[in-house]
């Protein structure tokens, strides 16, 4: 009889990889449907897709199938290997992001001691994929878009990391699991029933995080890399079919992951007051999912209502405003931590 030992190293690894691989399209589908298709439609006084499935829930699935059927087109003068590899690099960065996000006391692929730093580091890998895509496309719009993306992501990595530093200082750890526990065990002026979501103490950090995440995801008002009224579709101009699908999944999968990191850092992650032990492993993912939707709502709300900045204005915002503000935030956190303790 074939005994399946699910605690064996290889079995656990395969399981984890399978779960993460399933999570990326799932997260992309949820955000794409709820926000891109439905919320945007309702904001614009229209219904959005209604035919595929009840209320159009299967629209993105249908789109995905359509993308898979399309011809695999390479531009004539494209650097074929780089062109083919670029979407994979972008998706890989998304994949790595999911590794450190905890969805329950034991539900985490790998709880690293430097979880936050790891997450922010791997999220920048996507820049390489974007640059590859822009360069290999042999298209001027794609090239401009890719260079814009590179400049933008470099500028916004810094405030993103600095915004997180305040949280890490308050929690005393870089591990995402540790940050959740610090929030669960914390108390607000002696009142500990709901823990201490860092949203209250790190409010500036939260704003900084949302703004930088918006830029990191290159969404309006920071969507110059794909600015469709200027650059057609930026670095994605020449992509069709499943390679475009990869970019799409990368974009929305990363949005899901960054929203999850935001929820973990500032809203208490999987923690729900009063739920402990084994039950938290069951309820945790749902709680985290709800909080992700809250953060993602903020991100997409801004995306659908704001015009886009110019590249130089974006750089000015990052270097002249966000970075000084985050440094002040860190300073204030440090002083308060010493004083209050």
């Amino acid at each position: 009889m074939l005994a399946l030992d699910l605690t064996a190293y290889w079995a656990v690894t395969v399981l984890k990889v399978a779960v993460v691989l399933a999570l990326i399209p799932a997260g992309a589908l949820i955000l794409g449907y709820v926000f891109l298709l439905k919320m945007m439609s309702f904001m614009q006084s229209r219904l959005g897709p209604m035919e595929a499935g009840p209320g159009g829930v299967l629209q993105l699935v249908a789109d995905g199938v359509k993308f898979l059927q399309k011809e695999d087109i390479f531009p004539d003068r494209a650097d074929r290997r780089v062109f083919a590899l670029a979407p994979v690099v972008v998706l890989m960065s998304t994949f790595l992001l999911y590794l450190v996000i905890p969805a329950g006391p034991r539900l985490v692929v790998q709880d690293l001691d430097t979880g936050v730093i790891f997450a922010l580091a791997v999220s920048s890998i996507s820049v390489i994929g974007v640059l590859m895509a822009g360069w290999a496309s042999a298209n001027k719009y794609a090239l401009i878009g890719a260079l814009r993306a590179a400049g933008q992501l470099i500028a916004y990595e810094l405030p993103l990391v600095l915004a997180v530093v305040g949280v890490a200082m308050q929690a005393g750890t870089f591990s995402l699991q540790g940050i959740v526990k610090a929030q669960a065990n914390g108390e607000i002026f002696g009142f500990g029933a709901i823990g201490n979501p860092f949203l209250f103490t790190q409010f500036i950090g939260f704003i900084l995080f949302i703004v930088s995440a918006q830029a990191e995801l290159s969404q309006t008002p920071f969507d110059m890399p794909v600015a469709e009224s200027e650059l057609v579709a930026g670095f994605m101009t020449e992509y069709t079919g499943f390679r475009f699908l990869f970019f799409f999944m990368g974009e929305f999968g990363t949005a899901f992951a960054l929203a999850a990191i935001g929820a973990t850092l500032f809203l208490g992650g999987w923690y729900l007051p009063g739920v402990h032990g084994g039950l938290a492993d069951v309820v945790g993912p749902l709680v985290l999912g709800a909080k992700i939707m809250l953060v993602a709502f903020l991100i997409f709300w801004v995306r659908f209502s704001y015009p886009r900045l110019r590249e130089d204005q974006l750089q000015a915002l990052a270097w002249k405003f966000l970075i000084p503000l985050s440094l002040v935030n860190i300073l204030a956190t440090g002083v308060l931590k010493v004083v209050v303790k």
């Binding site: 614009q44 006084s45 001027k140 009224s229 886009r308 204005q313």
Partner: protein, 389 residues
């Protein structure tokens, strides 16, 4: 600065941009074809820009991809048939295209439309203005990256188009103006409905003011971008809101004497001293409000009576020449009609506003960044059919 100085400054800036190339990094400029298929040109305008990084060193609009030969076609059409063609010049300001041509023909024939027809013409003229400019008010958002406003523009523009459809039967191409009057009278209940729609239009303007014009990013992107001084604007023959946004107080509705109803209503000609993209948006927004108020006043005082003067069944226009220009949604539109006494015009020169408005692009685009190219294109607001005709 005088015009010559502006030109000199622009020339020096261009030379400096040229000189920067191949100095430090052995870089070379990149020629980018914006169009003929590009989302920002909403049609088939092609703009060749030479870029240094993202800065434009040199730009040249290339038009003619949509040339349909209307001037030539008018020569083989009878006068009543011409309105079908010219509806499609500025396809968003449909009815406004017909009026100056019909007025020119009436001039030559010595016919004047009865008062009710004149008032109705003015009402439809202003409705065409709203239908045209409201789309601009939303579209400017799209060009700057805000995707939501344009849906509101399409939504509220629809009410105006429905009104047009109720009277004329055509949403886009009413083809309703006749020599000596208009084709039919208003349907029952139309006036009340139109008043309701004008309230909506005002509400739409308020909404755009809150949603887009008041937005800080919008202001950052448009203020000081694409500044056209008044002297340069007149030199390039800019007209309409583009000229008024540069502080030129010039509006044919007020300055010319037409057999139309503008002289009977109160309206203000809005100007803005800045001359930048924001000013052009601001002026157009005020103009939409003003158009709504003009229509309301006209609806209140609409005279009764005939809608058609007596004209022969087969229209022959006596020999002569006539030039009539009106303040169309996009600017000054004029028809120079030469008749030799036949059934159709012998020659018809059509002056369209967009053609002159985009002629300033080479001057205006020097030294700006690629995103500003889009802002400037959007704020100049041209219709491709109006450029190429």
């Amino acid at each position: 600065m005088t015009t010559t100085e502006w030109k000199q400054a622009a020339y020096v800036a261009g030379q400096a941009a040229d000189a920067r190339i191949n100095v430090e990094l052995e870089t070379e400029g990149m020629t980018l074809n914006l169009g003929p298929q590009h989302p920002a040109t909403h049609g088939t305008l092609r703009i060749v820009v030479r870029l240094d990084g993202e800065q434009v060193m040199w730009a040249e609009p290339v038009c003619g991809y949509m040339h349909r030969g209307y001037e030539k076609l008018t020569e083989v059409r009878t006068y009543p048939q011409v309105t079908t063609l010219i509806n499609r010049i500025d396809w968003l300001g449909h009815f406004a295209n017909e009026v100056p041509f019909i007025l020119a023909a009436e001039n030559l024939m010595g016919v004047e439309a009865p008062p009710r027809a004149q008032w109705l013409r003015t009402i439809f003229f202003e409705m065409a203005r709203i239908a045209n400019i409201s789309l601009f008010l939303g579209d400017m958002g799209v060009q700057l990256g805000a995707i939501t406003p344009v849906f509101y523009a399409f939504r509220d523009r629809e009410y105006v188009l429905n009104l047009m459809e109720a009277v004329t039967g055509g949403r886009f191409h009413p083809n309703f103006d006749r020599i000596g009057g208009i084709k039919e009278d208003l349907p029952k209940g139309w006036i009340d409905e139109a008043k309701g729609v004008m309230k909506r239009v005002r509400h739409f303007c308020d909404e755009m003011e809150d949603l887009l014009m008041g937005n800080e990013i919008f202001q950052q992107r448009t203020r000081g971008v694409g500044v056209i001084p008044a002297a340069v604007a007149t030199e390039y023959g800019l007209s309409g809101a583009n000229a008024r946004a540069s502080g030129i107080d010039w509006d044919l509705r007020r300055d010319e004497d037409y057999p139309l109803a503008w002289k009977d209503v109160d309206f203000k000609v809005w100007t803005h001293p800045d001359g930048d993209s924001f000013a052009r948006y601001w002026v157009r927004l005020q103009e939409t409000r003003e158009a709504a108020s003009i229509i309301e006043q006209l609806l209140d005082g609409l005279p009764s009576g005939a809608i058609q003067a007596k004209v022969p069944r087969i229209i022959k226009v006596p020999a002569g020449e006539a030039w009539v220009h009106t303040e169309n949604p996009l600017g000054e539109m004029g028809y120079y009609v030469v008749s030799k006494g036949g059934l159709g015009p012998f020659r018809c020169k059509i002056r369209t506003p967009s053609f002159n408005n985009i002629s300033i692009l080479p001057w205006l685009l020097r030294g700006v960044f690629v995103p500003d190219v889009i802002t400037i294109l959007a704020s100049l607001y041209f219709i491709l059919g109006d450029i190429d005709r």
